[in-house]
């Protein structure tokens, strides 16, 4: 067998183990609700959940909340990506600024910023603005830190080689610094996107007026457990799709480097 064929077979084997694990989990869930007497208030029957999910999709009820969450995410990520890359680049241009600001940013990045949600709500209200501000803050740090790392540690020999051939400042940036830094910046953007999504949905469940997180909590408070689980499944699917898209974009930008 060819090495490629072997690799494919290995991948197939691990994929089937993963699928079997998920199927087993659902079977256990089903048995727990039908045979082992777990209360449907705690854990609704999976068949019921699927029926609810179908209803949600068919009725289009999810559209409003999905739009709110995706708009918040889009604006938050646009803010953090532009400001993170710009500020990261400006910092990377001086050793002094890297030495002072990089550890500071890394320190703030390790603080769970979601703790400041009440403050954000006070400042920006219960609506989307507070989610956007929080998501933008949280995703700014991985993007800025990776931009600093990307631009700040470009191999000096590339810069010297370009200069020796007469590269101008603009050419140096366009043809050397940017392509050298891009893979690391893209990784930062993927990380930033993921934490923005997590923090926005998370903060919607804590204090909000609309959005997918808001809907889930609302259903929980109304004891509509099957529908709540259906929404959770829906959000998981959306998150998976978004992360797949972002990872694919990242891989595309990293070709050949």
């Amino acid at each position: 067998m060819t090495p490629a064929g072997k690799a494919r077979e290995g991948k197939l084997a691990s994929r089937s183990v993963q699928a079997a694990f998920l199927v087993a989990l659902i079977v256990l869930w089903y048995l727990a609700t039908t045979r082992w007497g777990v209360s449907s208030i705690l854990l609704p029957n999976p068949v019921l959940v699927v029926r609810q999910l179908w209803d949600i999709l068919k009725s289009g009820e999810f559209v409003g909340d999905l739009r709110v969450t995706l708009t918040e995410l889009g604006i938050a990520f646009a803010i953090s990506a532009t400001s993170g890359v710009t500020i990261g680049y400006l910092i990377s241009r001086s050793h002094y600024r890297i030495r002072v600001l990089e550890p500071l940013f890394a320190g703030i990045y390790s603080v769970p910023i979601i703790l400041f949600l009440p403050l954000y709500v006070l400042f920006f209200g219960l609506g989307p603005a507070s989610k956007i501000a929080l998501g933008a803050t949280i995703s700014f740090f991985p993007i800025a830190l990776n931009t600093i790392a990307g631009f700040g540690y470009v191999d000096k020999v590339f810069v010297v080689a370009a200069r020796s051939m007469g590269a101008s400042d603009v050419q140096l940036f366009r043809y050397v610094l940017l392509p050298a830094a891009l893979p690391i910046i893209l990784t930062g953007m993927r990380m930033g996107f993921t934490v923005a999504l997590l923090s926005i949905i998370g903060s919607e469940t804590i204090a909000s007026l609309a959005g997918l997180g808001h809907r889930i909590v609302h259903l929980a408070e109304g004891m509509e457990m099957a529908r709540m689980f259906a929404y959770i499944a829906f959000v998981v699917a959306i998150a998976l799709i978004l992360n797949t898209i972002v990872s694919a974009l990242e891989a595309r930008g990293k070709r050949h480097t």
Partner: protein, 275 residues
């Protein structure tokens, strides 16, 4: 040697760091040298003797602390992309560009109009035997092929002067030998002036019209040995008595300097010349 000087090095010294600094190093001391148009001169010496420093000063990548360098009568104050091209030790190709794009980009930086670039890129890739690898990325090539590509990039700039900083230093002995032979053939067809830094006595003897031997740090040129043998040099030159005699003479000159360097730094790695 007679002829017009392409590069005139006058009283060049260079130190790194401030005089008061603990890390202050005098790398190069009061060095003068005239390099004749069309010759290949090798700079050879113990580690840290300042031969690479001198190359960078000549290329305008480092400003000398004292002294001046003139290229074609002009004082060097910064990179001179129209007169001087570099080949660095390794990995100076941009890994995100194909071989062709790398060669092309050098000409973009130098300011060659678009119309002329393609043909020049093809020509220089053919000259180094890489025409079939134009669309490969550097990561897909062997070390020797990468250095050929770097040489093609430098050739495409069509400068009168080529500065090569241990270009084959990271390659194995066999690859190095072949590249040396090919370089000698290539050079016999051009009238380029070449300054070639190397650790290898054999490489210096095989390639150079003259070999400048450096003293231990703070380095300066101790002696210049002429190698009177026309280019392209044949592989059997290596086994000739003349080759052996020159190589041994270089070894004798270098040996004491290397001992001095080792005694001073306590470091032996990389200090001994390759055979």
């Amino acid at each position: 040697m007679t002829g017009e000087a392409a590069i005139r090095i006058k009283g060049v010294s260079h130190h790194f760091g401030e005089e008061s600094d603990a890390r202050h190093v005098l790398a190069l001391r009061d060095t003068s040298l005239d390099i004749v148009r069309g010759e290949l001169i090798c700079l050879i010496g113990p580690s840290g003797c300042g031969k690479s420093t001198l190359l960078n000063v000549v290329g305008g990548l480092l400003a000398p602390t004292t002294g001046t360098v003139e290229v074609s009568g002009k004082k060097v104050t910064g990179p001179m992309p129209h007169d001087i091209a570099f080949v660095f030790q390794e990995n100076a190709l941009f890994p995100w560009n194909t071989v062709f794009e790398n060669v092309n980009l050098g000409m973009v930086f130098q300011g060659v109009p678009r119309a002329g670039r393609e043909a020049r890129a093809r020509r220089s890739l053919e000259a180094v035997g890489l025409e079939d690898f134009a669309q490969h990325y550097p990561g897909q090539l062997s070390g020797g092929m990468r250095q050929r590509a770097a040489l093609a990039r430098a050739l495409s700039l069509e400068t009168g002067i080529l500065l090569m900083d241990e270009p084959f230093g990271a390659l194995d002995e066999q690859t190095r030998m072949i590249l040396g032979e090919d370089l000698s053939v290539l050079l016999s067809r051009t009238d380029k002036t070449i300054v070639f830094v190397t650790h290898s006595l054999g490489e210096a003897t095989f390639l150079a019209d003259r070999v400048a031997v450096f003293s231990a740090r703070p380095g300066t040129i101790k002696q210049i040995i002429s190698v009177d043998e026309p280019h392209p040099r044949k592989p059997d030159f290596v086994t000739s008595e003349k080759f052996t005699a020159i190589r041994n003479q270089l070894y004798g000159l270098l040996h004491d300097e290397i001992r001095k360097t080792v005694a001073e730094t306590g470091v032996t790695a990389g200090a001994e010349p390759a055979p």
